[in-house]
C-alpha cells in the first residue's frame, strides 16, 4: 500500500513538473467548452435564400416577406431568373431557392390551391432536413392566414380545426448548448483518461525506466494502480472543473443528483484508463500509442451520440455501439443533468459500464507483462 502511494506521489511530481500539463488540465477544458459548444450547434440561424418571384402579386410578396421576416432566413438574392438563382446555389452562396410561379395568386384564389417550389441544397442532409422542416412550417402558417382571409366567419364555423401545440420537454427553449455541454465534458475526460494514461506508461518504455521498475520486486498490480490512480484523480477533477465552467458560462441545468454523475464517472474512467493501459501494452512508443488511442477515440466519439442521434444509425451500428463506453456515459450525463434521472433510470447504462470496466481491466492486466 505504501508502495502504491509512493508511485502515485511520483506520478504527480512528474505530471506537475511537465510544463505542458497545467495548461492541458486548466486551459483546454475552457477553450474546448467555449469553442465546441458555440460552434457545434445544429440551430439554423442564417439560411440564405434566393427568391425567384415570377408572380409579383401581393399574395406572393406576403409569402416572401414571411420568409424574410423570420430570424432563420436571410434573403440573399431576388431575381426573375431561376437559372441565376441556381448559379448562386452552385457557388455555394445560397442554401435554398424559393420559387413562386407566375399566376400564383390567381390560381390560389380561383382554384383554391397553388404551388410554390423549395429547392434545398442537400449536401449536408441534416441541415437540408431542418431547412425543409422550417420552411414547411412557415408555409403552413402562411396557408392558415390565407384561409382566414378568404373565408367568412360563418364558413369558419363549419371547419373543424385541429391545432397542434408544441412544448419541448427537458429543454424547453431548445437550447442547444445545454445539450452539448454534458457531451463535451465527456469528451474532455475521455481525452485526459485515454491519451494521458496510455502515453504515460509507454513513455516509461521509451526512456527505458520500465526496465528499472521491472527488476524491482514491485507487484504488477501495484505498478498499474500507481499508474492509473493519478490520472483517475486528474480526470475526476477535470470533470468537476468542467461542470463548474459549464454552470458559470453556459448556465447548464443540473436537474439530477451530482453524486450520480460522479459515481458513474468513476466507473467510466476506470474503463477508459484500462483502455489506455491496454493500448500501452500493445505499443512501444508514445507516437504509436497516440495514433492507436486516437483511432479508437474518433470512432467512439463519432458513434457516441454526441453529434448524431444513435437512434438514426443502422441497426448493425447500434448493436456495435453497445461496445462504446463513451455512448453510455454521454447518455448518463444528459439524462441526469437535463432530465434529472434517478439511479433506477440510468441503472442499465451504469451496470453496462461496470461490466465493461471489469472485462477491459482484466484484459489489460493480463496483457501487461513484466517479462518478455
Amino acid at each position: 500500500m505504501k508502495t502504491i502511494f509512493y508511485i502515485i506521489q511520483k506520478e504527480f511530481l512528474q505530471v506537475f513538473r511537465n510544463k505542458s500539463m497545467l495548461p492541458i488540465i486548466f486551459v483546454v477544458p475552457i477553450v474546448q467548452l467555449i469553442i465546441l459548444v458555440n460552434a457545434a450547434t445544429f440551430e439554423m440561424k442564417h439560411i440564405r435564400i434566393s427568391v425567384v418571384d415570377l408572380d409579383l402579386s401581393s399574395t406572393s410578396r406576403k409569402l416572401v416577406s414571411k420568409f424574410g421576416g423570420s430570424p432563420f432566413y436571410q434573403v440573399r438574392q431576388t431575381t426573375f431568373s431561376y437559372k441565376a438563382a441556381e448559379d448562386e446555389m452552385k457557388k455555394g452562396q445560397v442554401d435554398m431557392i424559393l420559387q413562386v410561379p407566375a399566376g400564383f395568386e390567381k390560381k390560389l384564389i380561383c382554384e383554391g390551391q397553388a404551388k410554390v417550389q423549395f429547392v434545398i441544397n442537400a449536401i449536408n442532409g441534416q441541415t437540408a432536413g431542418l431547412t425543409n422542416a422550417y420552411s414547411t412550417m412557415i408555409l403552413l402558417d402562411y396557408n392558415r392566414e390565407v384561409v382566414m382571409e378568404n373565408t367568412t366567419p360563418a364558413m369558419m364555423a363549419g371547419v373543424k380545426n385541429i391545432l397542434t401545440e408544441y412544448s419541448y420537454w427537458y429543454n424547453p427553449k431548445l437550447n442547444y448548448k445545454t445539450y452539448m455541454v454534458p457531451g463535451i465534458l465527456v469528451l474532455l475526460v475521455t481525452i485526459i483518461g485515454l491519451l494521458l494514461s496510455g502515453m504515460n506508461i509507454v513513455r516509461e518504455k521509451e526512456i527505458g525506466t520500465i526496465e528499472q521498475i521491472n527488476v524491482t520486486p514491485i507487484k504488477k498490480i501495484q505498478f498499474i494502480a500507481g499508474k492509473l490512480i493519478p490520472f483517475w484523480i486528474i480526470a475526476m477533477f477535470e470533470l468537476a472543473f468542467g461542470l463548474s465552467v459549464g454552470k458559470l458560462l453556459f448556465n447548464i441545468p443540473m436537474e439530477g443528483n451530482l453524486g450520480l454523475i460522479f459515481m458513474s464517472a468513476s466507473v467510466y474512467l476506470f474503463v477508459i484508463l484500462s483502455f489506455g493501459l491496454l493500448v500501452s501494452t500493445i505499443t512501444n512508443t508514445q507516437q504509436q500509442s497516440m495514433l492507436v488511442s486516437f483511432f479508437f477515440m474518433v470512432v467512439f466519439i463519432l458513434m457516441s451520440g454526441l453529434f448524431t442521434s444513435i437512434e438514426s444509425m443502422p441497426q448493425w451500428a447500434q448493436n456495435l455501439d453497445r461496445l462504446n463506453p463513451v455512448m453510455y456515459f454521454i447518455r448518463i450525463m444528459r439524462m441526469v443533468l437535463l432530465k434529472g434521472s434517478s439511479f433506477a433510470d440510468i441503472s442499465q447504462h451504469f451496470w453496462s459500464l461496470c461490466i465493461y470496466a471489469v472485462l477491459i481491466n482484466s484484459l489489460a492486466i493480463r496483457r501487461y507483462r513484466k517479462v518478455s
Binding site: K2, T3, Y6, I7, K10, L13, Q14, R17, N18, I207, G208, T209, E211, Q212, I213, N214, V215, T216, P217, I218, K370, V371, S372
Partner: protein
Amino acid sequence: MAAVSVVVEKLTRRFGETIAVDDISFRVSKGELFGFIGPDGAGKTTLFRILTTLLLPDAGSCRVEGFDVVNDYKKIRNICGYMPGRFSLYQDLTVEENLNFFATIFGTTLQENYDLIKDIYQQIEPFRKRKAGKLSGGMKQKLALSCALIHKPEVLFLDEPTTGVDAVSRVEFWEMLSRLKAAGITILVSTPYMDEATLCDRVALMQGGRMMSISTPGEVIRNYPLNLLSVRAGDIYHLLGELRSYPGMHSVYAFGQSAHVAFRGTGIDAGSLKVFLTEKGHRSVEITPIGANIEDCFMELMNTQPR
C-alpha cells in the same frame, strides 16, 4: 573455489532467426568480479537481461544465488541490482527523488543502506536537488549505480557501465567496483573496452552469442600462443599493408600509434623485417619485441575462433 553465486548452463535465447545467446555455460563465485568482454552484438545485454529476469531463456537454465530465473524470479528481483546500459532513471525527477523512489519500491529507505552507497552518493550529493536529466554523464552513472545498490543487493549486474564515460570517470568507477567487491557483493560487469578486463577477477570473452574463453586476466596473457613485435614508422597506413605481405606473418593490426605484428615461434626476425621495411621506403622504423597485453590476447582469440 568459494560458494557459487551465479550458475548458467547451456543457455540459449533466439530473436527470430538470430541466436543472441548460443549455448553458454559458466559459473561465478560469491564475491567475484566477473567481466564480460565482447564487441557490440556479442549477446552481453541479452545474457544480462535473462539473468535479471527481464527476458525468458529459450533453453538451458540459470540460477542466481540458488534461485531459478524462471521460477523464482520474484526472489531474484529482491537480491539483484541491475544497471542497464542506457541511463534509465527518471530524467524529470531529482537525484534525491530518484533514490527515494527506488528505495521505497524495494521496501527500504535511503538512510537504511546509506553506508553501502555512501562513497558513491557523496560525490553526487551536492547536486541532490538537480534533475537527473541535467547531470553529466559521469554523475548519471554514479546515480544509476546508487539506485542499483539502494536495496543492498547480493548480486550486481552492470551492463556496459562505462560506455560513453570519460577516461577519468572510468577509472573512478572501477575503483568503486573494487570497494563494492570488498563489501562482499558479487559483480557481473560487461564492457566493450578490453583494457578494463585486467581489472576483473575473471573475464569471459563473448562473440556472436558464444563464449570464447573464460579465465583470469593473467591466464589469458600467459596462454598467448604467439610472439609480438611493435613496429613504428611514419606512414602507418602503408606500413600495415606491407607488413601483411611479409612472409611468416600471422596477424597485423594497428595499436595506437604503432602496429603490432604477431607470429609463431621464431618466424620473423626483427633485423630482416627492418631491412625489408626500409627497402619499401619507410623511414625511422623502430621495431621492439613486446609481451602481449590483454588486448593482444583478445584480438587473437577473436581472430582464430570461427563465429
